[in-house]
C-alpha cells in the first residue's frame, strides 16, 4: 500500500508558534451604529457579517494550582459550521513598548462531539456565554464587535440576558511569534477609532 498523502500525515514537531495580539475596548449601545458605520468605511470592503456564537470554557483541574483552560465555540446561526477549539496562553508581559496584549494561541476546528470528548478527557465546563455581533476584517486584523449574553439556564442558549449595556470591541491578529510590528499597525488602526472607542491592552489578571 502506498503512503498516505502528506496532508493526511499527522503534524509532528516544528509547529509554528502562533501568537494572538489583542486590543479591547467597549462601546455603549447607543453609539454602536456610528461605530459600525466607521468600521464599514475603514475595513475591507465586504458584506457586513453578523454572527451568533455560543462559547463554552472548559477547565481541567490537575495537580497544579492553575487549571488548563480550553475554549470551545460553535455557531448558532450557521448550520454546518465546524466547532472551534482554542487554547490561549498567559499574556506575555514585560515589553512595555508593545502596544497589544500578546498570548500564545492554538486554534483548531473540530467536529460536533467536542463537548463529549472534553468531558471524557476530564474537562468540566466552567462558564459559557452567547456572543452576538458583527465581524470586520482589515488585512490580517480582525475586528469583532459583540454583545455578551449570560446564559441563564446552563445549556439553553435561547434563554439569555445581556451582561451589560455595552458591546465589547476586540481587535485581534493571529500571527507567528516575533512579529511585533503587527502591534504598531494595530495601534494605528485603534487611533482611527478614537474617540468612539478606546482600544487598549487590558490585562485580565488585573480584573480578577
Amino acid at each position: 500500500m502506498e503512503a498516505p498523502p502528506v496532508t493526511m500525515m499527522p503534524v509532528t514537531g516544528g509547529t509554528i508558534n502562533m501568537m494572538e495580539y489583542l486590543l479591547q475596548g467597549s462601546v455603549l449601545d447607543h453609539s454602536l451604529e456610528s461605530l459600525i458605520h466607521r468600521l464599514r468605511g475603514l475595513c475591507d470592503n465586504m458584506e457586513p457579517e453578523t454572527f451568533v456564537d455560543h462559547e463554552m470554557v472548559f477547565l481541567l483541574k490537575g495537580q497544579q494550582a492553575s487549571p488548563f483552560v480550553l475554549r470551545a465555540r460553535r455557531s448558532l446561526d450557521r448550520t454546518g459550521a465546524p466547532w472551534h477549539l482554542r487554547y490561549l496562553g498567559q499574556p506575555e508581559m514585560g515589553d512595555k513598548n508593545r502596544h497589544a496584549l500578546v498570548r500564545n494561541c492554538v486554534d483548531i476546528a473540530t467536529s460536533e462531539n467536542l463537548t463529549d470528548f472534553l468531558m471524557e478527557m476530564g474537562f468540566r465546563m466552567d462558564h459559557e456565554f452567547v456572543a452576538r455581533g458583527h465581524l470586520f476584517r482589515k488585512g490580517i486584523m480582525k475586528i469583532v464587535v459583540y454583545k455578551v449574553f449570560r446564559i441563564l439556564v446552563p445549556g439553553n442558549t435561547e434563554n439569555t440576558e445581556a451582561l451589560s449595556l455595552s458591546y465589547l470591541v476586540e481587535l485581534s491578529v493571529v500571527a507567528p511569534a516575533g512579529q511585533d510590528v503587527v502591534s504598531d499597525d494595530m495601534r494605528n488602526f485603534a487611533e482611527q477609532l478614537k474617540p468612539l472607542v478606546h482600544l487598549e491592552k487590558i490585562d485580565p489578571k488585573r480584573l480578577m
Binding site: S164, S166, P204
Partner: protein, 270 residues
C-alpha cells in the same frame, strides 16, 4: 534592473488602487453633501472625514514603503499628442479624458505648481527670509503660547460644562463596562453568578436551599467527576441529565421542565 521594474509596477498598482478608493469615497462624500444636506448629521460627516483621513494615511504609507522606488526619479514624457478621440484612454480614465491633446497634457502631467502659485510661494519665502532668524523664533514662540492658551481655555470650558452634565451624549463608551466585559470573556466573571471562584464551588451543592437550586445544579456539574448523575435530588434530575450530556445541545423540551425552577428572584441580582 528587472527587479526595479517589477517593484515600480507593483507600487504603481498599489498606488492606483489606493487612489481609486480615495476617489470613490470622495465621490460618495460629495454626493452625500449635495443630495442629503438637509438630513446630514455631524457624526455622519465625521465618519466620511475619518474615512478620507484613513485612506490618505494608507496612501502615505504605501508611498513611504521601503519597497516603493523613488517616483521622483521617474519622468513622464508625452510621445504623441493628437486632437483625436482615443478610445483606450477613455476606457482607462472612465470617460473623463477623451483626448490626449495639448490642452490636457499640461494639467495632467504637471510637476510644478501654477505660475501664479509659484509666484506667491516665492514671495512668501523671500518675506520669511527677510525677517531674520531671531524675529522668526520669537514669532514661533508667541504662536505656540497662544495655541496652548487657547487649548487650556477650551479644556477648562469642557470640564466645567461636563460637570454640569451638559453633554451626556459625549460618552460613547463606559470604562467600567469595558472592564466588566473583558473580565467576563477572559474568566467568566459575572457569567456563572452562582459560582464563586474555584474552590468554594463544591461547598454549594450541599445546601438544598431554594436560592441555590440552580447554583447546586451547575456546581455539581463542575465538581462531579466520578459521581453518577442519579445521585442528584429528584427535582433536578431533568436538568442534571441534560447537563451531564452535552451542555451545548439541550433539547427544547428541557426548557419547559425547569422553567419553574429557573425563574427564581435570587439569582439575577448582579
Amino acid at each position: 534592473m528587472q527587479r526595479e521594474e517589477k517593484q515600480l509596477e507593483a507600487s504603481l498598482d498599489a498606488l492606483l488602487s489606493q487612489v481609486a478608493d480615495l476617489k470613490n469615497s470622495l465621490g460618495s462624500f460629495i454626493y452625500k453633501l449635495e443630495n442629503e444636506y438637509d438630513r446630514l448629521t455631524w457624526p455622519s460627516v465625521l465618519d466620511s472625514f475619518a474615512l478620507l483621513s484613513g485612506q490618505l494615511n494608507t496612501l502615505n504609507k504605501v508611498l513611504k514603503h521601503e519597497k516603493t522606488p523613488l517616483f521622483r526619479n521617474q519622468v513622464i514624457i508625452p510621445l504623441v499628442l493628437s486632437p483625436d478621440r482615443d478610445e483606450d484612454l477613455m476606457r482607462q480614465t472612465e470617460g473623463r479624458v477623451p483626448v490626449f491633446s495639448h490642452e490636457v497634457v499640461p494639467d495632467h502631467l504637471r510637476t510644478k505648481p501654477d505660475p501664479e502659485v509659484e509666484e506667491q510661494e516665492k514671495q512668501l519665502t523671500t518675506d520669511a527670509a527677510r525677517i531674520g532668524a531671531d524675529a522668526a523664533q520669537k514669532q514661533i514662540q508667541s504662536l505656540n503660547k497662544m495655541c496652548s492658551n487657547l487649548l487650556e481655555k477650551i479644556n477648562k470650558e469642557e470640564r466645567e460644562s461636563e460637570s454640569g452634565g451638559l453633554r451626556p451624549n459625549k460618552q460613547t463608551f463606559n470604562p467600567a463596562d469595558t472592564n466588566a466585559l473583558v473580565a467576563a470573556v477572559a474568566f467568566g466573571k459575572g457569567l456563572s453568578n452562582w459560582r464563586p471562584s474555584g474552590s468554594s464551588g463544591p461547598s454549594q451543592p450541599g445546601q438544598p436551599g431554594a436560592g441555590t437550586v440552580l447554583a447546586g445544579a451547575s456546581g455539581l456539574q463542575q465538581v462531579q467527576m466520578a459521581g453518577a448523575p442519579s445521585q442528584q435530588q429528584p427535582m433536578l434530575s431533568g436538568v442534571q441529565m441534560a447537563q451531564a450530556g452535552q451542555p451545548g445541545k439541550m433539547p427544547s423540551g428541557i426548557k419547559t421542565n425547569i422553567k419553574s425552577a429557573s425563574m427564581h428572584p435570587y439569582q439575577r441580582n448582579t
